[in-house]
């Protein structure tokens, strides 16, 4: 999670690093790596392909006339370039990565192996359906697991990420309201919500209205009820919420929304806390997206691809988007035709994307679900919540926790413990980098000042947590002791020190240009 509000975006007072320079510019195993365009050459290729001559082309006179401007690398150079770049990244495999709200859990390599089975990876989305029954069976089984785990009767698999799932859910709500002949214009979103929630509701043409949090970090139910009315289409709520707390009045909220004729959307980003234990269908939820890259461990990949299937209640099921999957005597079959869907009693609101969704992610998630089973998934939730509460209990005396526990899968702290120390939340995050950790999520959620949101996940050992806790306690102690310089100049030990984000935004350089052209572009 990223948020810039209230956090510095320039390096500030950091002093120049004092370690002596090397002749090469590299430092031991830490290599500087130029850009592809500085090491590649126009005349080099790393793929052996025959140089065929086209006697006469059939391009209708539209053949490219000028070079593209690409450069190539031989295969060994390609390996070195990208391996060296990879070494400049933090990763869950290499380090504790407690990025709140992102569920950075272990990514099992069995999932990768299964995703590469040719019946899935080498299946074309528009191949005759009789030839891709195995791929369709993966869709079907993924759907069955997700419906069972959530206690919801329907699922749309095609949304490509969490935010895309939100869009799918709100579009289904919009379609349901229109089918009733109503025109409801408002969506209520708690102020602690992910930024995608209000952005999605606005994209669908709804007016977004904030609902404030109460002193316990939960939705203020009375404030929410006061805003309900005949023009409210629905409520978008994250549960467990972004403060890491279970919305204990959730059934009351659902009932109130339903009584007012609205629908209840749940952001399922934090499903990891309750998977295998609690069914969202039992909480009165009408639609919820599931981030397969969070709860079901499909790799985050440096920022995608994700997958955001949406489960629906009975009230919304018929509005799910195309394609639909059905099974008859001949096997599985996709319904891609709106009229055919209508003949079967569905009213799909449209299509979210080309083809049928993030198949590669379904295979990984299904592999993960089979590996855990119902018992393992319940243990996932138990251990994720246990680990987070252990961190909360072990740090709340030296840091400041704005809300009473127990928390769910993540522990939230604010910056009250840093008051008058001169050290900020961002400084703590950067100091953690020097200590060998990926920082927690900072400055989110917005409802507390200088937020630090720590999500350990269930795949971390007690030893890892104990070491992290010791480091956090040390940092809190040193910050309070006034060792400001050390914090403000962090990180010193990463491939780069603090970067000037303000300069980057003021004069954006978003691509490489050949030196001549670069001078031209600057004019």
């Amino acid at each position: 999670m990223l948020n810039n509000q209230g956090r510095p975006t320039t390096p500030g007072a950091a002093s120049v690093s004092s370690a002596p320079p090397t002749l090469s510019g590299d430092r031991g195993l830490n290599h500087e790596e130029p850009l592809l365009f500085e090491v590649g050459r126009a005349e080099v290729t790393g793929v052996d392909l025959p140089d065929v001559t086209l006697k006469a082309d059939r391009l209708g006179g539209l053949a490219r006339k000028r070079p593209i401007g690409l450069v190539g690398l031989s295969e060994p150079e390609t390996m070195r370039h990208y391996v060296r770049l990879s070494q400049r990244n933090a990763s869950i495999d290499a380090m504790f990565y407690p990025l709140g709200s992102c569920t950075m859990k272990h990514n099992a390599r069995l999932n990768e192996k299964m995703a590469r089975l040719p019946g899935f990876s080498d299946a074309h989305p528009l191949a005759p359906q009789s030839t891709v029954q195995g791929a369709l069976a993966v869709l079907s089984q993924t759907a069955t697991w997700l419906k069972t785990l959530t206690g919801m009767p329907a699922v749309a698999l095609s949304p490509k990420a969490g935010a895309h799932g939100e869009l799918c859910g709100i579009l289904a709500i919009r379609a349901a309201i229109r089918a009733r002949g109503e025109n409801r214009t408002r969506i209520l979103v708690p102020e602690s919500a992910h930024g995608t929630n209000p952005a999605t509701a606005a994209l669908c043409g709804f007016t977004v209205e904030d609902v404030r949090a109460n002193a316990e970090g939960r939705v203020d139910v009375e404030a929410l009820k006061a805003k309900l009315g005949p023009d409210v289409a629905g409520v978008m709520l994250t549960n467990p919420n972004t403060c890491g707390l279970f919305e204990r009045d959730i059934i009351e909220i659902a009932d109130a929304v339903h009584a007012a004729g609205g629908y209840f959307y749940c952001d399922g980003a934090n499903f990891n806390a309750i998977v295998g234990r609690v069914r969202p269908g039992d909480l009165g939820i009408d639609a919820m997206h599931i981030n397969l890259h969070k709860t079901f461990s499909t790799p985050h990949g440096g920022g995608g691809p994700g997958a955001g299937p949406v489960v629906f209640s009975e009230r919304l099921a018929k509005f799910a988007p195309l394609p639909l999957l059905v099974q008859d005597a001949k096997g599985f079959r996709l319904i891609e035709d709106e009229e055919e869907a209508k003949a079967l009693g569905y009213s799909p609101f449209g299509r979210m994307c080309a083809f049928h969704g993030q198949m590669g992610m379904f295979v990984r998630a299904l592999t993960y679900m089979y590996s855990h089973g119902r018992d393992g998934l319940r243990q996932v939730a138990d251990d994720a919540v246990l680990n987070a509460n252990y961190i909360l209990a072990s740090l709340k005396d030296v840091m400041s926790a704005p809300f009473e526990g127990p928390c769910m899968h993540e522990a939230l702290f604010d910056d009250a413990f840093l008051k008058d120390s001169g050290v900020t939340t961002l400084d703590i995050a950067k100091a953690l980098i020097d200590e060998g950790y990926h920082p927690m999520t900072v400055y989110f959620p917005l409802v507390v000042h200088g937020a630090m949101l720590i999500e350990p996940t269930e795949t971390e050992s007690k030893e890892t947590l104990d070491r992290f806790i010791a480091v956090m306690r040390g940092l809190a102690r040193d910050a309070k002791a006034g060792d400001i310089e050390r914090f403000q100049s962090a990180p010193r030990l990463a491939p780069r020190r603090r970067l000037d984000e303000t300069a980057a935004a003021r004069k954006p350089v978003l691509r490489w240009r050949a030196p001549d052209n670069a001078a031209e572009a600057a004019e």
Binding site: N4, S17, T45, G46, V47, V52, L54, R58, L59, G60, L62, R64, I68, G69, Q87, H106, E112, K113, M114, P118, A123, H124, P125, P128, Q133, G134, A161, H164, T200, L203, G205, L283, P299, H300, G301, G302, G304, R351, M352, F355, G357, M359, G360, T367, Y370, D375, G376, L377, E458, K462, S489, P491, R496, R497, L499, E501, A504, L510, R511, W512
Partner: protein
Amino acid sequence: MRYLPLSGDDRRDMLAKIGVASVDELFRDVPSAAREARFDLPLHAGEMEVERIMGRLSRQSIPAGEKPFFCGAGAYRHHVPASVDHLIQRSEFLTSYTPYQPEIAQGTLQVLFEFQTQVALLTGMEVANASLYDGSTATAEGVLMAGRVTKRDRVLLSGSLHPHYAETVRTVAELGGTVVTAAVKPGQVEDLASLIDDKTSCVVVQNPDVFGFVRDLRPIAEAAHAKGALLIAVVTEAVSFGLIEAPGAMGADIVAAEGQSLGNGLNFGGPYVGLFATREKFLRQMPGRLAGETLDADGRRGFVLTLSTREQHIRREKATSNICTNSGLCALAFTIHTSLLGEIGLTRLARINHMRATQLAERLTRIPGVELVTPSFFNEFTLKLPRPAVEITHELAAKGIIAGVRASRLYLHEKSVANHLIVAATETNTDEDIAAYGAALQEVL
């Protein structure tokens, strides 16, 4: 369970530290009505067992590589070098997240900067973002962006835009505007110019289009610009950039493309990677993540995510789009494959694709009754057959030939294309594949 490190002793000690007797107490905020759910699902399974289950499912599909295979229509079978799949499985790429802490994410950020440069070069545009979900959603985002730039809400779609793309656009563009789709005329230059009016925000044209027809975008760019509308060029076959004039050079204002062909397998439709490029002057209206160059506290070059004030985590309901992530790992695969190919390799690859398609078209159109509908094409063309294509693809599949995508799979109620078959050929198709296709089609007709 092999992925869970806590022991029973650990759990007991941790509960003691927390001050509760059992994990159940930590779930006390869950309403009691929802606390004891039961799940009709199997118990956990070892690796071998899971491999058996998944292997059985995989074998129920026929991989494209096992038969002479000619399907395209938005997803293409190309050879991906072994080093690409190895590199994207590096822990540091595979198991990192969005580069929120740039000091320890320079690998991902520099890759995205290289990706943005490659995409800008390939499309002939000035700036590109760090990728979107796929080509279809990139197209929809392009349409929304055109609305923001022109402050107009009428969208004109070519009839030869991939119908899935058209439906994806309609899903979002009809929320606040109207979408007009031109009539379907396979292999013909449509008269789009007469459908543009002064409320039109953009014209969306695919090239090569869904039938494989290679079209000159310049006249439609001129017509759009004359009415104050933008031209959005859609490309579903990224290898075509190696041989066909770049959309930017033909007057496109926004390019939305599917990057799957470079670095990414078929994967039954996803995950893929959306390419998105535009003119510098529209930069602040562009959706999606952007990597930018800057300096660190020691004055060294580094990269950060930038212009985030367009994005949802800052702007919330006023954001340019609701997108949170990109398609990072697929973008990485695209960039590595493109780096391996380079200018020379991509050009050669594109030529081989065109040669294969030309050979196949020549072979198939020698069969009486088979008509080539697309006068110009790259690696995909459309045939008109003497009978409904649905019958023929079925009969050919029974003979072990996956003959292409029938237009009726995409144009579900367009009777005029019932006999049309969209056929793709790539470098993966051999002389034997082409001969087998020719012989089999001759037999069934």
